[in-house]
């Protein structure tokens, strides 16, 4: 079996048994990247030197019997997570050449667990987008159909795992940016509860919504990576100090569980019939494993998108103010005064979508509009949270499609921002309510992967993973690596 197609669990055994060294595994991945990435374009840049050091250290640990389950496992990191000494640009020209002076907490914990970082993956600029077409560098292609988008914003990370260019990868999810590309690329992706994983080192898009999460090829792997990153961080005041219990009930099965089926998530505009069929088949699998399907309602779903597109741009307009050409990154040197220096740097450094959202957010926070937009949106957010609270009195988890469509053709939505925003209609509710959600492949439509989303109450990652694990086992599902060509 080709090691670039295996799971962390499978590779861990090979490494522990010394049938394969971490350095060999690294070379295999670098070879695969060389073969595949010319077409997929998942990576913005490779970190071969760092990877070499880490692989050598991993081999020493393996030799000395000090290895853990992640020792020597190759990983890809989304371009919004700071790694010391590594160029980190948030997919933006404005940060071109910026080398982070520190390593963020989630990545640091994985490094301490022995992973090997292959490189930095492409994404929509500042994680704003659903296709990677907003990247300030290039568009990533879906390994299952190279004329298709990989989803976004964490499209590079999803595509890397789908194409065998990394065993697992990290993404960030603000409105669906892990789950949607996971669905479109046919891999597992999870957004944890807000506060489960430290955001320290994550270049902020929308601080109250952003979470870091993994892309993997098995639910077991997903739980392992999440567990390794999770836990209170004194450097993030919004990270929770609670038990790291994400895999508590992983293998307990769904017998007797109540799975909520929200009608609003099935009647959504633009839902493709093939997606609906695949998801309904997945629900049958869960039913036959003993789960009970119950109808639930999330009545404020229709307002979620509008609220999201006030709150996220408002926060981003403030978060992105620091990119001013004074301290780092792009800097206009020809301006005659500070105001021109700011506006030239930001006009040239930011892409269209980022500028659009900065302006939307600035407007929404302006005096005279603040109450009508920002305050109102926060009220809607509260109502959406209550919808979920109410639904979770009737069920243990909520199941639906992750994305209403399969991967769409590159260029098909770039002229219409609103149609692009609608990609996240089934995922952003989870961000507004701070819930954990996992997307797991559940078949194909039009030859492209479909994702099943499982949402659970806050801090119940274990429940979401338990349902996903039951589906994985019940359907005999195995995340395939796209062969390309």
């Amino acid at each position: 079996m080709d090691p670039t197609k295996l799971t962390i669990g499978e590779l861990g055994r090979l490494l522990q048994d010394r049938e394969l060294s971490a350095q060999e595994l690294l070379v295999m991945h670098l070879d695969r990247i060389e073969d595949a990435d010319g077409e997929v374009k998942a990576y913005l840049r490779l970190t071969e030197e760092l990877a070499g050091e880490q692989a050598r250290a991993a081999d020493r640990a393996l030799k000395d019997g000090e290895a853990g389950p992640l020792t020597g496992i190759p990983m890809a990191v989304k371009d919004v997570l700071c790694v010391r000494g590594v160029e980190t640009t948030a997919g933006s020209q404005i940060l071109r050449g910026f080398k982070a002076p520190y390593t963020g907490t989630a990545v640091r914990r994985l490094f301490e667990a022995g992973v090997v970082m292959l490189g930095v993956t492409n994404c929509d600029e500042f994680a704003m987008g659903s296709s990677t077409e907003n990247s300030g560098y290039f568009t990533t292609h879906n390994p299952w159909g190279l004329d298709r988008v990989p989803g976004g914003s964490s499209g590079g990370s999803a595509a890397a795992v789908a194409a065998g260019e990394a065993v697992f990868s990290l993404g960030t999810d603000t409105g669906g940016s892990i789950r949607q590309p996971a669905a479109l690329c046919g891999v597992i992706g999870m957004k944890p509860t807000y506060g489960r994983v430290s955001r320290y080192g994550l270049i902020a898009f929308a601080s109250s919504l952003d979470q870091i999460g993994p892309f993997t090829r098995s639910v077991e792997d997903c739980a392992l990576v999440l567990e390794t990153m999770a836990g209170h961080d004194p450097l993030d005041a919004t990270s929770a100090n609670r038990a790291n219990d994400v895999r508590r009930s992983l293998t307990s099965g769904v017998d007797g569980m109540r799975l909520g089926v929200p009608k609003e998530y099935f009647d959504v505009e633009g839902m493709e019939p093939g997606v609906k069929v695949a998801v309904n088949n997945a629900l049958r699998v869960l039913e036959s494993a003993g789960a009970k399907l119950v109808d639930v309602s999330l009545p404020h779903t229709d307002y979620g998108l509008a609220a999201y597109y006030i709150i996220a741009p408002a926060e981003c307009s403030s978060n992105l103010a620091r990119f001013d050409g004074v301290k780092y990154g792009m800097s206009d040197q020809d301006a005659q005064n500070i105001t021109d220096a700011y506006s030239h740097t930001r006009r040239n450094g930011f892409g269209t979508e980022v500028r659009r959202r900065v302006m939307l957010g600035t407007y929404a926070l302006s005096s005279g509009y603040y109450d009508a937009y920002y305050v109102k949106a926060q009220k809607v957010r509260t109502l959406i949270k209550r919808d979920f609270d109410e639904a979770f009195t009737q069920c243990d988890a909520i199941v639906s499609a992750t994305s209403p469509t399969v991967a769409f053709p590159i260029g098909s939505k770039t002229q219409d921002p609103l149609s692009m925003y609608l990609c996240d209609v089934l995922t952003l509710g989870g961000n507004l309510a701070g819930l954990p959600g996992v997307s797991i492949p559940c078949g194909m439509s039009e030859g492209l992967p479909v994702g099943l989303q499982v949402l659970a109450p806050q801090w119940r990652e274990d429940t979401a993973l338990r349902v996903a694990h039951a589906y994985e086992g019940g359907s005999d599902m195995r995340v395939e690596v796209a062969l390309l060509g």
Partner: protein, 467 residues
């Protein structure tokens, strides 16, 4: 000028005494540290960093609020104040907008109650250094972020002050209060207390407020007083000559002794405040608040009143002592140690306060007792005090060592008096002929020959022998 009423409100920024910055672990830089040596990725505003609240700063702010008799809410939060400037690394300042740490307090001055609108917590900005004059004219500018992220409490008063004198008194009283409770060193010269008066004038009896100007760049209490006086004058002249006051921020120029326009506030800047999403709201534990309240020391105003009543000090002496808690504590301990209150006050105000080093209460009490009883002279007492501070020894040891014990035994001193008269025949003759002033040189010679002699006894001896 009599026909104008002056209305002043004060915004005072105070740096609380904390070891580290408001939202990161950086130490607060000592004055004149090399640029950008007290910085980290957080206070530099690097991508991906997050703030964490400094509990010591919250505590200092709450203590100040309690001492100013403010209401403390159960729930407070931080907000982002958005504006771009090169000294503001994140492009926003973390401050407090609609749910500040405290509201509705007061500070009583002599004859004036000043209402405190709010006391809240925020972070300081960095500092710009221009090669040239102002930012827009400079050919090169540098940013020093040592100060960026240093905690600041902002104390905002209502427009209750009515003169430059009162404004200065308010600022000084605030400094005393903050030092007394240990919330800040509040040294204006070091920038730990920055007073920004808002000034307007109106006709007496008018209920409406005039157009105000806000003054910045004030670095001492003296400058505060002068700047306000200048600005009141400027506004009055403007209005009397038919002009109007423009609402603006004006800077005080110490070299030119005048205010100058810095920034028009006609088009109010929109700071787009919104709740800081990186910091959860703070629930202020009642028990903690009550603990802080109970631990507050006696406040300066109460202490002054008590010192006047208890020790019969003049209000001015009491004020000078209570201006620094350390001095007032020293005073009371010295009195407990047996020193005369009036004498102890004089010694502290005259000798201890102006000097740098502080004696222990025992040392001071002993020196005051030695001087008051006439055992040593005042000059000697001064030296003994200095030496006992320097070598940390008991004053009586030093007195013994130096043979300072004063001699007031007339029998023992009479031979010296005879020597003096014999050695100064002209002065002696002058005195005998009625020129009483001639006793001066005789006494001087006496003290030269016998420094330990009690001046009063020596005088009496000379007078007796020359009679």
């Amino acid at each position: 000028m009599a026909e104008w009423e002056v209305v002043i409100g004060m915004e005072v920024h105070v740096q609380p005494s904390t070891r580290s910055k408001m939202f990161c672990g950086c130490a607060v830089a000592p004055l004149n540290s090399p640029p950008n040596t007290y910085v980290c990725e957080i206070c530099e505003g690097m991508p991906g960093v997050l703030p964490v609240i400094n509990k010591a700063a919250v505590e200092a702010c709450l203590k100040a609020a309690l001492a100013l008799e403010c209401e403390i809410p159960t729930h407070t939060k931080f907000d982002r104040k958005n504006y771009m400037y090169p000294d503001l690394p994140k492009g926003y300042q973390i401050s407090q907008y609609d749910l500040p740490m405290s509201r509705n307090g007061r500070l009583d001055l002599e004859g004036r109650r000043v209402r405190i609108r709010r006391v809240h917590l925020e972070e300081d900005t960095g500092k710009l250094i221009h090669a040239g004059d102002k930012l827009h004219k400079a050919w090169e500018s540098f940013v020093d972020l040592n100060r960026a992220g240093v905690p600041l409490m902002e104390i905002v008063s209502e427009p209750d002050l009515r003169s430059a004198d009162e404004a200065r008194e308010y600022a000084m009283e605030l400094r005393t209060l903050l030092r007394t409770i240990g919330a800040s060193e509040a040294d204006m010269e070091k920038g730990q207390l920055r007073a920004e008066p808002n000034i307007s004038i109106r006709r007496p009896g008018s209920e409406e407020l005039g157009v105000k100007t806000e003054l910045k760049n004030i670095n001492s209490f003296r400058a505060l007083h002068r700047a306000i006086a200048y600005e009141v004058n400027r506004q009055a002249e403007l209005l009397e000559s038919g002009g109007t006051v423009v609402q603006e921020t004006r800077g005080w120029s110490e070299t030119e002794q005048r205010t100058f326009s810095q920034r028009s506030k006609e088009f109010a800047e929109d700071y787009r405040y919104f709740p800081e999403p990186d910091l959860p709201p703070l629930e202020l534990d009642r028990e903690w608040i009550e603990k802080l309240r109970a631990a507050l020391p006696e406040l300066p105003r109460a202490r002054r009143a008590r010192m006047v009543a208890e020790y019969a000090l003049t209000p001015s002496d009491a004020a000078q002592l209570a201006a620094e808690r350390e001095l007032a504590d020293l005073f009371e301990s010295a009195v407990i140690g047996g020193a005369d209150a009036k004498q102890a006050a004089n010694w502290i105000i005259g000798e201890v306060a102006p000097g740098g080093a502080r004696p222990s209460a025992d040392q001071l009490a002993e020196v005051v007792k030695l001087a008051t009883s006439g055992k040593i002279t005042r000059d000697q007492a001064r030296e003994v005090l200095a030496e006992s501070i320097r070598s940390n020894r008991a004053p009586h040891q030093i007195v013994a060592e130096r043979g300072y014990e004063q001699v007031s035994d007339a029998a023992a001193l009479e031979p010296i008096a005879r020597e003096v008269i014999a050695a100064n025949p002209k002065a002696a003759a002058d005195y005998r002929s009625g020129k009483t002033g001639a006793i001066g040189p005789l006494i001087a010679d006496f003290k030269k020959r016998a420094p330990q002699a009690d001046r009063k006894v020596a005088m009496e001896l000379l007078q007796k022998l020359l009679a």
